[in-house]
Structure formats: C-alpha cells, structure tokens
C-alpha cells in the first residue's frame, strides 16, 4: 500500500495528544537549543510526533517517564540529524563555489590514494595490538569518548587512560616508521 496508514485507536490518540500537550514546550526547548531556529524546531517537533504515532503501540506499554524519555531521544536525534544535514549542505555549497573558482583547493587524487594506503597500513598495525589496547582505541576514536569516560568504562584512572592512549599511538607510529623504511 502506498499510503501511510494510521489506524490509531481513540485511546492511543488521546495518549499522543496528552504527550504533546504535556511536553511540547519542553521538547521544543530541546530542539531549539540544538537548532536555534524556530522554524526548524517546529519541523522537528512535528516529525517527533509522527515518529511517536508510528511507534504508539510500543510507547503505550512504557511508563510515563519512559514515554517522555522516548520523546526526548527522538527530538534530540532528529534535531542533531537536521543540524548535520544543514552543515553538510552548507559545506557542500561552499565546496561547489570553491571548486568553481579554485580547483587547487581540493586534495589531489594521488594524495588521497596515498592517504588511503597509509590508513590501510596503520589499520594492519592496529590489528597486531592486544585486544585491550584495541578496545581503548575503539572507545577513543571509534566511539569518540574522552579519556575520563574511557577511564570510567575501563576502571582505571583518567591519567592512566591518557598515558595508555599516548603509548599505543607512539607504539603504532614506531611500527609504522619501521615498516616504511623497508618499503
């Protein structure tokens, strides 16, 4: 079926309406704190309630604080996605204008290939590390956690986490330089 069909019972409609009435200002505030734009924040609030309608069967099984939590998660992430898309649009717009006037500003393809190869080499070296070292790297650069957060997860202190991170970086760098000598 091509239509987006909403067949929501009266009780579910009342629940959606209550969620809106009780939380719209609060949700708008969250969206606007991220987007700083009334029109965009209103768009996000609308999209949030479309998502809520789509998931109402699950939402009604949650208790009231979980329902609010769900609304917050949706509104925050939709706002962040919108912000990302807007930034991407601005960046790509800028790029297109730059490309038009200054081709030299873009990275040459051969440099990109070299970078890609280097990343590939470093990746192979990361594979040689111990699992605990790799975990730290994944938390730091995969999940973008700071050393304080990593320390909490790994049950070590922040300073140790930082030193370990630096030590691993140095170790991989040395291994990389060694390897490059023979290439």
């Amino acid at each position: 079926m091509i239509f987006f069909v909403i067949t929501i019972s009266e009780n579910d409609k009342k629940l959606i309406c209550t969620l809106f009435k009780d939380n719209n200002k609060f949700l708008y505030y969250i969206a606007n704190n991220i987007l700083h734009n009334q029109h965009s924040s209103e768009d996000i609030l609308q999209d949030t309630f479309v998502k809520i309608s789509e998931n109402i069967e699950k939402i009604k099984e949650l208790d009231s604080s979980e329902q609010i939590a769900f609304c917050v998660v949706i509104v925050k992430n939709l706002s962040l996605n919108k912000l990302r898309n807007e930034k991407r649009t601005i960046t790509s717009d800028n790029n297109s204008s730059l490309n038009e006037y200054s081709v030299s500003s873009s990275i040459p393809i051969d440099e990109k290939i070299i970078e890609k190869e280097r990343v590939y080499e470093i990746n192979k070296l990361i594979d040689l590390l111990s699992e605990s070292d790799r975990t730290l790297l994944h938390l730091k650069w995969g999940m973008k956690m700071n050393y304080k957060e990593i320390a909490d997860i790994l049950n070590i202190n922040e300073e140790s986490a930082k030193k370990r991170g630096q030590r691993i970086l140095k170790k991989v760098k040395n291994m990389y330089n060694e390897r490059m000598k023979y290439k």
């Binding site: 091509i2 239509f3 987006f4 069909v5 909403i6 067949t7 929501i8 009266e10 409609k13 009342k14 959606i16 309406c17 809106f20 009435k21 200002k25 609060f26 708008y28 969250i30 009334q38 209103e42 609030l45 609308q46 309630f49 309608s53 998931n55 699950k58 949650l62 604080s65 979980e66 609010i68 939590a69 769900f70 917050v72 998660v73 925050k76 992430n77 939709l78 996605n81 440099e111 070299i114 970078e115 990343v119 470093i122 990746n123 990361i126 790799r134 790297l137 994944h138 730091k140 650069w141 995969g142 999940m143 956690m145 304080k148 957060e149 909490d152 997860i153 970086l169 991989v172 990389y176």
Partner: protein, 316 residues
Amino acid sequence: MKGFDDLFEIACGNSFIDHINNLKPDEKTASVNLSKNQIAILIQKLNSLPEKYIHLLFLYYNIGRTADIENLLNINNAENHINYLNQILSHSIGLRNSLIDNSSMKIACDTALSNEIFDLTNNKFIENINYSNEFKRNINKIIPHCYKATYKIFSKIAAVIIIMLIGTTSLFSFNVNARQKLLNWLINTFPKYSEFFYDSTDTATSSDLNKYNISYLPRGFNLYEKFESDSMITEEYRDSSDKYIWVLKKVSSNTPINLNTEDTEIQWLIYNGTEYMYWKSDGIHYITWELDGITFSINTNLDEETSIKIAESVKK
C-alpha cells in the same frame, strides 16, 4: 597531506567499524540478571557512554525496531553495536564470561535516561512559545484530537447507502451533540448519514474542479455519467459488471457533503501531507479529503486497496 596522528585516528575509526561489522552474536555466553547494586553500577557506567549509545540502548530495549533506530541515530548495524556495548559494559561492571541480560539492561537504560530527563524537566522552559500558524495546522494533521474536541462518527440506524448532495444544512434538524470538529472537518452526525464540511483556508472556484482528474482507473472502467454544476462535479465510472467508482469534486467553501457512515469507524490516511478519511459501510469503500479548496469524495464497491489507489491518483 594529513599527518600521522590524523591518519591514525581515521584508522582507529575504521578498525572500530570493522570490529563492529565482524562481531558474531555470542550465543554461548550466558546472560545474567543483575542485582540492584550491579544495576546501580551499570547506570554509572552508562552515564560515561556518549549520549548516542545510551539512546541506542534505550530505543533497542524499549522499541526494538533496529532499522528505525539505525536511521534515527545515523548508525549502521545497530544489533552488533548493542552486542558490543553489552560486552564492554559487562566487562566494566566486573562480569567475567557472561553478559548482561535484557531486563537488567532495560532497567539501567531507562533509569539513566530518566535521571537526565528529570534534570531537564526541572529547568524553567519558555512558557510562551508562539508557534507559527503553519505549525499549528501541521500538528493538527498529525494529532487529530489535540486542539479539537473529541469526536465519534457512528451513525446507528441507517440501512441503505445514501449519497446525498444537499444544498443547505438547514434542510435537516440539527443535533448539537452530534456536531463535532475533527482537524478542519466539521462533521454532523445524523441518524442515517454524516455531514462533512471542510473549513478551508484555501479558495477554489468551479473552474478549478476540472483541473483535478483521476489518473488511475482499473482496467475495463469507463466514464459512464458526468454531472456538472456551479460548485460541483460528479463522475461515475463503470465496468461491464456491477462495479462502479463514483467521484465527487466540490468547492469546499460551499455546501457540505453527506455520506453514509453507519456503524463505521473512520480511519485517517495521511499521504503527501493530505489527510484522507477512509471508511467502509455495507461493502462500499468511502474516501474523502480536501485539497486546495476542493473537497473530494470517492465511493466504490471495488476493494479497499483499489479505492485508495484511485484516490491517490487524483491529481492536477
């Protein structure tokens, strides 16, 4: 050219993605139900994770539709991320050779998020937000009951399908209790039918009516009869059997349309931002909607899917 440190960061990111993508579901490792103390520690650990991952866990354990979650959180392979998070959190709270079970994880995620939201809700928010009219209109489409009174569209007695095009509402005795407003629709329920009146902000003229036409007709159907007046056009299409499609196009700002709603519940269909009312009564499928100041209504004894497809095909 990027320096080593930058390339190292990229490589670490790639390594993480590879690790997640290649993670095999760990079915052999037992999941354990955590004690209250362990859950309290887990909540602390969750609070150390970036918000995105708390949201991922919360949505996964409460909603569970990973495709939706991936889309919302801009994340690939949500299921493997969940497994990975479970592994590092289990390890972090001191579990050896076992994982955290779903119910403990759900409790911890809900609590972690609720604490954060409690802090947020205790803030003073803007009391008077002046939402734009466009927003109010749109939110009314999404939440039909929000700004309008509740409604009920059940006619109890009618036995025969009646499609009446009545010139004025004054022809009928008016039952105030049955008069309800739904979105921009004013619906008066009478014993044998309901009267639909669209409170339109758009204006259309009779010349606009011919601009909208059905672009999809099931095979074998041809125009059987067409009737035009100042503010309304009706078209009837038939095939060689007893099947028919009846189409009404009417300037919204004029008179209401009256349709059989006996013992039916109206479903709302939203497509391309237009709200459609659909219901079935005595084997006849009804669809009514408003667009650009024109009220459209289709009824047919074909099936539901075809009737919706026909309605969808009405275009300029």
